[in-house]
Subunit: 169 residues, 2 copies
DNA sequence: AGATGAAAGGTTATAGAGTAACATAGCGGG
DNA sequence: CCCGCTATGTTACTCTATAACCTTTCATCT
């Protein structure tokens, strides 16, 4: 399975996180926007693994980490910022959020979502984006954003029905 | 614009509705499932136009039509049935539901959604479905369902920015 | 026709997701 | 140092969806 995405294989996820956070820092500096403690903390929590996190799960994690109550607007504002900067994506079928591994390159939101282990794998397929734009244009439709969410079983879970948990390095 | 979908052009929508309801009746008879009064009524309300309807909007319409209170589980159960039978689709980005014009043919949920007039146009592009399945397979992913939701401007709204309401015949 | 069991619908309460509105704190440039 | 802007805190609320339990409807068998 030579095309298996990184998210699907056992990898050094600490490194994965650190890379993402460092990239986010650089990106925000470059754009002159503020990656505050809260925003960084939310981004880090989202990057804990490759499974999309709900806003309320995130809220609880924040509350536990900061040993005080955290209200919904706090987390939603951080999420809005991260979405605007392209640092995370929203998974509509799950009402949840996941880190974007390539925030600097403009791209559409295309995901494979495993119903067994919950992992969400971001696709990087410009040709697919282009084909979708083409189909839309045939209907006279002017595309502004795309959301493709494919549900099913990831390579791990389809192959090993017994052991359906994604592990990190 | 020869490929303009029916939903995007001025058409005889009463006929559109009647066709859909009759198709639904036949489909349910064929499958031995019950298209009850409530379910039929919900389906008819959803087919009122080509804009996705939220469950709570639907609830109010039901309450008004039946001159009594209708609680959420009532409408959600009807929606679940219609979804299972493929008579409607769920538009995740809108938390809303829309009628399926071809419930008998197995197909994926691919939509163009206009942010100006709210219309949702269902695509029928088996090649696109196949390409998505192919991309997923390259990643060892086994596809069970697809949700493609493309947002932007429909032909009407992109062409006539002044008059952004979809009309029916 | 009457019994019966499953499916459908009614009712109440609550969980989960997201936002409005307003108050406070922190930072950045004059 | 002060002013103004941005970020965060707080309260309350709306919208979306489901759990649990009860009643009704309806097809089928006798």
């Amino acid at each position: 399975m030579e095309h298996t995405p990184i998210a699907c294989s056992h990898h050094d996820h600490d490194h994965c996180i650190q890379d993402a956070l460092e990239a986010a820092r650089q990106l925000c500096i470059g754009r002159g926007v503020r990656l505050t403690d809260l925003r960084l903390q939310v981004l880090e929590l989202i990057w804990q693994n490759h499974k999309p996190l709900g806003a309320y799960t995130l809220m609880e994690m924040l509350a536990k980490a900061n040993t005080r109550r955290v209200a919904p607007p706090t987390v939603y504002r951080a999420l809005d910022f991260l979405l605007e900067q392209g640092l995370i994506h929203r998974i509509n079928v799950l009402n949840a959020f996941i880190g974007c591994p390539s925030p600097t390159t403009k791209h559409q939101s295309h995901f494979l979502i495993c119903r067994a282990c919950g992992i969400a794998i971001e696709l990087d397929q410009p040709e697919l984006s282009q084909q979708i734009i083409g189909v839309a244009q045939d209907a006279g439709f002017q595309v502004e954003s795309q959301s493709l969410e494919v549900s099913g079983l990831c390579a791990n879970c389809a192959g090993n029905p017994g052991q359906q948990e994604h592990r990190h390095g």
